[in-house]
Symmetry: C2
Subunit: 462 residues, 2 copies
Amino acid sequence: MDPKLLKGNLLLFFLVAIGFSAAAQTAEDSILIRRLADTILTDGRAYGNLKLLTKNVGARLSGSAGYYKAEKWGQMVLTEAAADAVWMQECMVPHWVRGGKDEATFAGGGGAASAGLDVLALGNSQGTDGKVVKAPIVLIHNFDELERRKDELKGKIVFYNYPFNPLFVETFQAYGDAVRYRGGGASRASKYGAVGVLVRSMSSTVGNEPHTGALNYSDSFPKIPVFAVGLRDADKLAAAIEKGGVTGTMKSNAHMLPDTAAHNVIGELKGTEFPNEYITVGGHLDSWDPAEGAQDDGAGCVQSIEVLRALKAIGYKPRHTIRAVLFANEENGGRGGRKYAEAAKEKGEKHIIGLESDNGGFTPRGFTLSLSDEKLAAIQPWLKLLRPYGVYELVKGGGGSDVNPMGRQLGAAVGELRPDSQRYFEYHHARNDVLENVNKRELEMGAVNMAALIYLIDKYGL
Amino acid sequence: MDPKLLKGNLLLFFLVAIGFSAAAQTAEDSILIRRLADTILTDGRAYGNLKLLTKNVGARLSGSAGYYKAEKWGQMVLTEAAADAVWMQECMVPHWVRGGKDEATFAGGGGAASAGLDVLALGNSQGTDGKVVKAPIVLIHNFDELERRKDELKGKIVFYNYPFNPLFVETFQAYGDAVRYRGGGASRASKYGAVGVLVRSMSSTVGNEPHTGALNYSDSFPKIPVFAVGLRDADKLAAAIEKGGVTGTMKSNAHMLPDTAAHNVIGELKGTEFPNEYITVGGHLDSWDPAEGAQDDGAGCVQSIEVLRALKAIGYKPRHTIRAVLFANEENGGRGGRKYAEAAKEKGEKHIIGLESDNGGFTPRGFTLSLSDEKLAAIQPWLKLLRPYGVYELVKGGGGSDVNPMGRQLGAAVGELRPDSQRYFEYHHARNDVLENVNKRELEMGAVNMAALIYLIDKYGL
């Protein structure tokens, strides 16, 4: 038998067995998703928009001139994407400034001369007012050891050398495990009289870039300076301390200014059937100051904009209103995400889902969604439509930190794109988070799957 | 109810339902694979070995001094991996040399002055004996157009500007589609009197690196020089030719020398039950001359060696003899792979499988295997063991070109690692195929899955 005939007969059998309408539906979805992919892969704007954001705008921490330039970029590219409406939503944000180069050195440890460390003050860290803080350094491996050795810490610099555990296959688990030392290490050391903190960077890199990120001070203890240290330098420092007698210096002008105004930038496609029901897709517009914020989270911004552009470009008329939101202040406050949910609550808006991309523009593998077991089971057939584009999993889980308030405040489902995680913590919050470390096709494949999922949610609901 | 208790009861139910022994088996496999992962992710040698190969050895085309240095590296690292035996297997290989920098220019096309093109002579290409070949350039989009315009080609340089189609989600399909112009374009143009060929690089890059690779001349027509052109330069050249009147120059010292001897480098762990039945895992040791051959195929070499090292390091005693093979001459002849299969056939060796890694050390997604539908179905339960490490698919397909002769000559199964393909053709056969474009964790995750699959094949057969 001609294999083509066999194929035809099998298709017929298939159609009869599952019912013509469902198969026709699936075929229609498959064709529409292919059209979304075609425009994103051949005529896409994600990479070009990211190039503008990283190279023409660059770093854009809350309150910086770069952030306001980024807001203008966001309005421009959402308008170019042919959003039906583009607007800004104001929110107050923290305004932390680094104030120049952070410096740290160490000396001693088997007679070594003074050596510089590659460091970055953590975001929100108090600096040293430009003065040099000099003190012996105590090597602390974890919080248990900190508690055991609390009587040794007065007047010292505490160096947390907790590793980014390579045994976690999913690197976000290693991050979650280690980030406690960045977030809460300062006040726990300050409580026992430490005058400064150095913290091993949360990274899987083979390089020495320090990785910054936000810390949270407790108001109960003095706000001491905290610097992230590059991994190779952290190893050197730890080895010197093991030999004994190491003194360090820290110097930084970092400080917090009064809160200032910033904006979420929002674009939408108006729904044709349910214009007052909303589907939100977004990333965050702010980035850390030493980098271009290419993976974190320029990628998520341009992917979200690309979802809108692609749906419009193929002439799709959404049933619900679909919004792309570029959130303000994810990195050191989360104010933009909270503002968006609060404003929606005040207006009594009905939100179906908030989907975020904030795990980098790497090759996509799946989505997490905050759905009940039943709802999650019901949408598993969508995987047949996503698998050709590299997504294998629709699994239970939360959204990104910008959309999670939509779950809490609005009862919306939340979710996020889960790209491959192996490379994210090479670049996260470090100087090398630049366009050159984003792959155009990986970025686009993420956008393809996001657009496909948003389309399916718009068509079938959740 | 305490959720832990519930979990315990569910586990008990599970054990009873599927039978204790199968569950115990799976648990044992799961633990053993976790131990393989642990040694590879924390104490692995793959990245360090690759650093030595790329930075201390570097480029290693067949016949070059670099290749012989690479053979020594291979013996050393297989010995360090504690292989029970390490040896070399001689084979004759082609010996092509570039002979310096290839040069091309074009002038005309709206009055433009002469401009240089970033080019690399294709592997096996005849050069111009160091003389300048100057001729009008004819823009040809595909072989159909070549045939239609065959009367215009005499004395001309043919420029094949066939695109690397971005619509293929799997980039190897775009490569397979475009590579015809690299492999066979020279003789098809020479047949009609062309004096040289320029060919658009087979790449998805946003950059301008030219991507070399092998060509095959037909003996029926003059062997004319062929250069790969970087994508941005190809666009410029095509735009100029559209305006008309473009003349080009080509200059190269490339030439073929007589065949020379090279070696496959082989290490093995002796089987305890079936020492005369073989499982082979490998990559190819040669690389193109302008690069470090980091992704192609240093990655596959160090992953294959890592499989041996990890199995030995955890104290696993293989039932069958497991070999890591670093094949000679994949890039411009395939002689090493054929030699390995021929020698095995002469000795009457029984080979169970040849598994290759030659698609880059990117994050793993699956394996292709040349198994019957029944056998493939029978091993699908292995996916439960591989999924935690990122492999989602065991699908029907061929092996790499080094192991495919084992299928044809020995009746062995063949297969290959299928990592994510989005970035491969940024680096493939280009100057930027360097260590810095390999991610340590991605490389290791590939090795983890290869080691796990080899273990399962050794334990359960195929």
